[in-house]
């Protein structure tokens, strides 16, 4: 059995769905954030696989960008979560209640 | 600048001038508003009498390209035919009267006159527009001022509710009507909302019957709501009851007519197949206006609600004339429109005076006022007699024409209408007169004042004079209206030859005369 593009894509899709599940099911902001990273990584895997099988490097450049963006996002996000924690002593989405009807 | 443009622009320019004046210069503001609206009234009268009677077609034609692009082509196009001439005249007159009776406004008068002038300008623009987009545009200008005026200067605890109700009903109706207009734009293939372009295009290639029906129903129900077509009428009495005098005058007198105006101008000439198929709806629903609203008026203990409901009943005549689809009926409709404009405005002006003096509109709390305010009492008698359809007033001519016109196709409804209009109307109008003017003069009403002096009497006199003038010389109006009405009827009865029109349940199309 030869490993083909589809194998990589299936792995990537499953990883993406795992991340999505984490976002939906978990209630801790930090874990949700990690699940989002997982989703971005799934996209990275798909891009690298496509890049390899389409025989060009454009996908890999895209991965480079995604990693950059993820790093920036994490930096801002974590500082925000810390600020939230300082203010509300929680990192739980269900406690984010000051903005309601 | 041409006469017509000046007429439309004067209120807006006056409003701009007022905007520039600080809010605490109340006297200056009021003078300016009176000046502007008075000038408008003069212009409206001049226009009416300079309109050459007896000729079909449009006069004072003015047009300019407004939007011209591949996706949309709209013109600013104003012109006057007989129907519009009459409406412009009464609009200008009622507008002046409305400004004149607004001396009672004390709070935020700058804003009040701004809004009032906007309504007047909008109504003038709507009646003068030949481009339907501008008709809609001008007509909707009144919406927000109405809302704010009822809310800020209105009366009663329920004024907020009434303001919302009137706004939501009118918007919903206008939007449905707008849908019809847009559909007309696209379906006609004229790629224009200019009435002349539309007529030309429709004469060449009529609109498909199914589409005609869609547009017609949109227009009837949409703009019908603006007129107070039963059963979409309930906003009107309550809204008028809560509105300040000037707003109620303009709204009941003028703005309501815009819906009828667009039906006459657009729905009838451009959609003959749909008229043939669907005009019975108006015939049926107008009974609701005539009878239902008549009976409701009968039960009212509040002067404003009574006037409001009776004005709805009068609109029943207008609808009946439309449903008749012949020259007499349509002419009658226009006469009703014009005369009712004066009548409704006068009624609300009087009721406003009474309320201001007595502090109530409850009929049961008034009485014996004729002795204390002879001038107002006299005008009130004149006004209510006109409302009953007594000969000698403008309404008589209109209602009679409508009944004659409708007799051909709709005899049953005519009987109902005549009964409702004359008997019911007579009953509640005369009863109200008795309760207000006759009988014991109650203790709290000792201090009431009559309208004294030219400035106070002028608006009432003006409107009453108008009623009498058109009652005595109806031909002045009929001469101007009839050619336009015949044109409408001619177009409305020219069916699409190829289209197989299914036999409608009640076919009301009468042959052109």
């Amino acid at each position: 059995m030869n490993v083909t593009l589809n194998h990589y894509l299936v792995v990537s899709v499953l990883l993406f769905c795992l991340g999505l599940f984490g976002v939906l099911a978990r209630r801790n902001v930090l874990v949700i954030y990690m699940s989002l990273e997982l989703m971005l990584n799934a996209a990275n895997l798909a891009l690298v696989a496509f890049s390899r099988f389409n025989n060009n490097l454009n996908g890999q450049v895209m991965v480079f960008f995604i990693i950059t963006v993820a790093a920036a996002e994490v930096a801002v996000g974590l500082s925000l979560i810390v600020a939230l924690y300082r203010k509300r002593q929680t990192a739980h989405v269900e406690d984010l209640t000051s903005l309601k009807l | 600048m041409s006469l017509l443009n000046t007429l439309i622009l004067t209120p807006f320019l006056t409003a701009l001038l007022i905007l520039a004046i600080p809010g605490n210069y109340r006297f200056v503001i009021r003078c300016l508003a009176l000046l502007g609206s008075g000038f408008t009234a003069v212009l409206g009268t001049v226009l009416f009498f300079r309109y050459a009677p007896g000729t079909p077609g449009y006069q004072f034609d003015e047009s300019a390209i407004w939007v011209s692009s591949s996706i949309l082509r709209l013109n600013y196009h104003v012109a006057v035919d007989g129907i519009a001439a009459g409406m412009l005249l009464v609009t200008a007159l009622v507008g002046f009267a409305a400004v004149a009776v607004s001396w009672e406004i004390e709070r935020q008068s700058k804003l009040f006159y701004l809004l009032l002038l906007m309504i007047i300008g909008g109504a003038l623009g709507a009646f003068a527009s030949l481009d339907l987009f501008f008709f809609y545009f001008f007509n909707e200008l009144a919406l927000v001022p109405t809302f704010i005026m009822i809310g800020v200067w209105g009366r009663g605890e329920e004024r907020t509710y009434a303001a919302y109700k009137i706004t939501l009903y009118l918007t919903a109706g206008a939007l449905v009507g707008l849908t019809g207009l847009i559909a007309l734009y696209s379906a006609s293939g004229a790629s224009s909302l200019d009435l002349l372009d539309l007529q030309r295009q429709v004469a060449k290639t009529p609109i498909a019957p199914a589409m005609q029906s869609f547009i017609f129903l949109c227009l009837v129900f949409g703009f019908g709501t603006l007129v107070g077509l039963w059963p979409f009428h309930s906003w009107a009495p309550q809204g008028y009851a809560c509105a300040p005098t000037a707003t109620a005058m303009l709204h009941a007198g003028i703005l309501k007519k815009a819906g009828l105006f667009v039906l006459l101008r657009v729905a009838y000439p451009l959609l003959p197949d749909a008229v043939a198929q669907w005009s019975w709806i108006l015939g049926v629903l107008c009974v609701g206006n005539l009878l239902y609203c008549g009976f409701v008026a009968l039960r009212q203990r509040d002067l404003n609600l009574l006037i409001g409901n009776s004005s709805l009943a009068h609109m029943g005549f207008a609808f009946l004339g439309l449903a008749s689809v012949n020259v007499i009926g349509i002419t009658g409709t226009v006469l009703v429109m014009v005369s009712h404009a004066l009548l409704a405005a006068l009624s609300f002006a009087l009721s406003g005076w009474l309320r201001h003096q007595t502090g109530t509109t409850d009929l049961g709390k008034m009485g014996g006022l004729l002795r204390r305010m002879p001038f107002i009492g006299t005008v009130l008698v004149l006004c209510f007699l006109a409302g009953c359809g007594v000969p000698g007033f403008a309404n008589f001519a209109g209602e009679l024409s409508v009944l004659f016109g409708a007799w051909n196709g709709l005899p049953v409804i005519v009987v109902a209408a005549a009964w409702a209009g004359l008997i019911l109307g007579g009953v509640y109008m005369l009863r109200a007169l008795r309760q207000i003017l006759q009988g014991e003069s109650r203790e709290p009403l000792k201090g009431v004042l009559d309208a004294v002096g030219l400035w106070r009497q002028l608006p009432f006199a003006l409107l009453a004079a108008g009623l009498l003038f058109f009652g005595i010389f109806p031909n002045v109006l009929v001469n101007r209206v009839k050619p336009a009405a015949s044109a409408v009827v001619r177009l409305a009865t020219t069916l699409t030859p190829a289209a197989p029109v299914k036999a409608a349940p009640t076919r009301t199309a009468a042959p052109a005369k």
Partner: protein, 497 residues
Amino acid sequence: MNYSLLLVEILVAVLGLGVLLADLWIPAEHRRKLGYAAAAGLTLIFFVGLSDVTETSYAFTAPGARTGMYVFDSLSVFFKEFFLLAGIIVMLLSVAFSDRFTTGVSEFFSLTLFALLGMLFAASANDFVLMFAALELITITFVVLNSYQRNRAASIEAGVKYLILGALASAIMVFGIALVFGSANTTNFNEIFLAQKQLAGNPVFLAGLAMVLGGLAFKVAAVPFQVWAPDVYQGSPAPATAFLAVGSKAAGFVLLLRVLFGVVPQITAQWNHLLVVIAALTILYGSLCAIPQRSLKRLMGYSSIANAGYLLIGFASVSKAGAAGVLFYLGGYLFTVLATFTVLCVILRHTDSDDISSLAGLGQRSPVLAGVLSLSMVSLAGIPPLAGFFGKFLLLKSIVMLGVRDPAYYCLLAVALLGVVISLYYYFGVIKAVYWGGGAVDLSPIPLDWPVRISLTVCVLGMFWLGVFPDHVVKLSTPAVEVLKPEAPASLHEKGR
């Protein structure tokens, strides 16, 4: 490489960096003036930076593509003008609002400029990679801007919500881009356009496209990606909310226009029912949920959802007229929303509450503010003679006739009309509060400083200009959509007249 195409972007970037650096040498009490300087700079860029478009030009060609990833055409210029104008007004707003920030006043200006930069790039994106980069710049900048008042719990929470949901949308979009890249072997818009016939049958491509659109739907707050909007609008500082409502939304829409009509028009035509459903649901959601709101900012959040729904009508029509309607509507929306937020900024300075009841007595306190707020509500509600009306007119016009062939459009039309009527209720609720809302305690007049006056004047003039003399903007938007190539769906063709 023709760098002169990027003149505006380069100037804005330099301006942003300049503000950031100038902060080092400017004493704290003069930092507000940096905002004026930035606004002046933007005005200058607005007037001198944009050249006329003679032909569509491209820059930065990726390997394997025939055109560049940066496009300079009339559509992009239209939106660049839009964004710059929005940026100028938001900058004035920020200055007016800036005394409510405890720290980082000049950084706020600078970040606003960088968000603007992202929008400018989004207007010119001709490649999914550039689109992604531009959108991320916008998103992350807004995360910071939204949580700028970090001593307010609401602001922080707004930031966190925007962050999480924004990152989720980004992740979905990125995965979508990966699938699109994999199936098309390019991320260039023009290349995909040429290959769309083969790609239309490729499930990977379709899945990817759907995910990309999901990411864009987040930006414009369309159902089902709308949940963030009310919370974020309510919690964020007012200038940030204003820019979010206008700029970020418009950036989403320009990209939606490019992708749906410029890249995959055939697939869009097949998906027209989906667009109809989304537009209808968005309108309904926004309108219905707005009814019970008490906070003006939150109300604007729901209103922004509803407005996104109206804008989507233009997409559902799958026509150039619809696209032009979208452009015009956005133009009107710009002035309207910014007028609202300018008033809101001033009110927040004086009452410290954005509750609608706190507007009571505004009619007496400041007739100007009351008037402007009422005008913008009227415009939002879509009533003549203001900009909102003509925009709604254009959008409704684009679908009225489609109903004959496809009854779904009648349903959409009905929903849209219903939405307008409902919206009247809550917009007029604001007017009511302004003019006869009860419970006004403080009736002291509200003074207005000159940046606020400028901003208000510009917005009001803009609303009237677009409403009363729409010709100019219609003429601008018509050629702008010429670069798009929407194809009406087959079902609307088959019984051609």
